[in-house]
Symmetry: C2
């Protein structure tokens, strides 16, 4: 009962046969608690089990591959994906027409959420977490000092902080709310670079000292700096647009 | 530049031809800012434009349908989906083996996030937002008083609050963090029902009065009540499991 599909109602009412087959395979994966280590039963076995043709199984499998529930490993067969059902851009942000507005709304959420995440991280980090965080911090610094684009590793640093909380979901939310980081790295150029190094180091030290309050403050300041910079850019872009709304 | 695909790096390096075609169609949708009102160009036009066969276009379209970027309208053709790229269960929660742990971690996030959402809602709600919130509140009450499962409409009430914030992303995060609501409604039975009616009314009144502090407190109390109940259930389930960890 706890495993029941709470998203079921969102699906189309008149699902196609491949769609219903995909749902049955998905249910099988959940019931048997299959993971990224596990191979999917063969087309033949699935066809027998679900009373459909192998062509239908193949179509159902394709749907689950498209949704990152399954993955094809070349020469090895079909496996459960490492994080089944997790997809890049799960909220369709890339399709939003007003990316600047999106970025502003995201930084508002970050400003509220991430200081709390930093505090939780300081309170719950293990020695191993801190080691990984330290490495992640250093990778971002190397990017910045070598004048490489650090946006991806920057997001990973924030994910590493989120992992220190021991909460399963927080690390999954960070890539969503930091979506805008990469969009504006080219606009902010180097203005944010030194602040990023100092801000990240502050957070790292506070978390490794187990100082929740300091971690929270350092994160709040870091996001506020980002927010101010973004607002600045937004203002400039609007001016260039000819002062429109 | 602002529309550049920030998730691109997450994709598989050796993408198949249908996968690359799906990406090109997706790019076309973003560049032309096509929306749910718009029909996708014909297979023939796309094949010409992207220099691939119609069979490949068909496979690419299937992938985008599976990801809810496109939708087939029976007898009408292929359209952009209303919220392109948004899928149910975007983080793959249904595949998590420990649903109880997931629920506890989610309620921790809710307790941190939703009081702030309620305050923002009180500060930014329009008259129209409040009207919709009032209706949503009443739908949940009718469910509860008729002893129907109110979990779905309960989530929609929290989404309606989130819409009052005027932040684009907050309403998208609520269905994710309230994922566990439906899972445990059968376990909590009627114990939470009266509390839900009173708690929701409190929030509605605070938001419609523009009282951010009261809205925040009412939400905090509501989530805390849910958290305590969930912890109770978790304790009982563990006991039934034979006192394991």
């Amino acid at each position: 009962m706890v495993n029941e599909d709470v998203f079921e109602t969102v699906k189309t009412k008149e699902a196609s046969l491949p769609e219903r087959t995909a749902e049955q395979i998905s249910r099988l994966i959940r019931e048997k608690q299959l993971t990224g280590e596990d191979k999917l039963p063969s087309e033949f076995e699935l066809a027998e089990l679900l009373h459909v043709g192998r062509g239908t199984i193949r179509e159902g499998v394709k749907l689950l591959v498209a949704r990152n529930v399954l993955e094809i490993r070349r020469g090895k067969g079909t496996y459960i994906a490492p994080n089944p059902g997790e997809i890049p851009d799960p909220l369709g942000f890339t399709y939003y027409p007003d990316q600047l507005r999106l970025a502003m709304d995201l930084v508002e959420i970050r400003g509220q959420m991430e200081p709390w995440v930093a505090r939780m991280a300081a309170e719950h980090a293990t020695a191993e977490d801190i080691q990984r965080l330290r490495e992640s911090c250093s990778v971002v610094e190397q990017d910045i000092l070598s004048e490489r684009d650090h946006s991806e590793n920057d997001v990973l640093f924030h994910v590493a902080i989120a992992k220190c909380t021991q909460n399963l979901v927080v690390p999954k939310l960070i890539p969503i709310i930091t979506y805008a980081v990469k969009l504006f790295v080219s606009l902010t150029e180097r203005r944010l670079r030194m602040e990023t190094i100092v801000g990240h180091r502050d957070m790292l030290e506070a978390i490794s000292a187990g100082d929740g309050r300091r971690a929270e403050q350092a994160m709040a300041q870091h996001i506020e700096y980002n927010r101010a910079m973004l607002q600045d850019i937004a203002g400039q872009l609007k001016k260039e647009d000819g002062g429109g709304e």
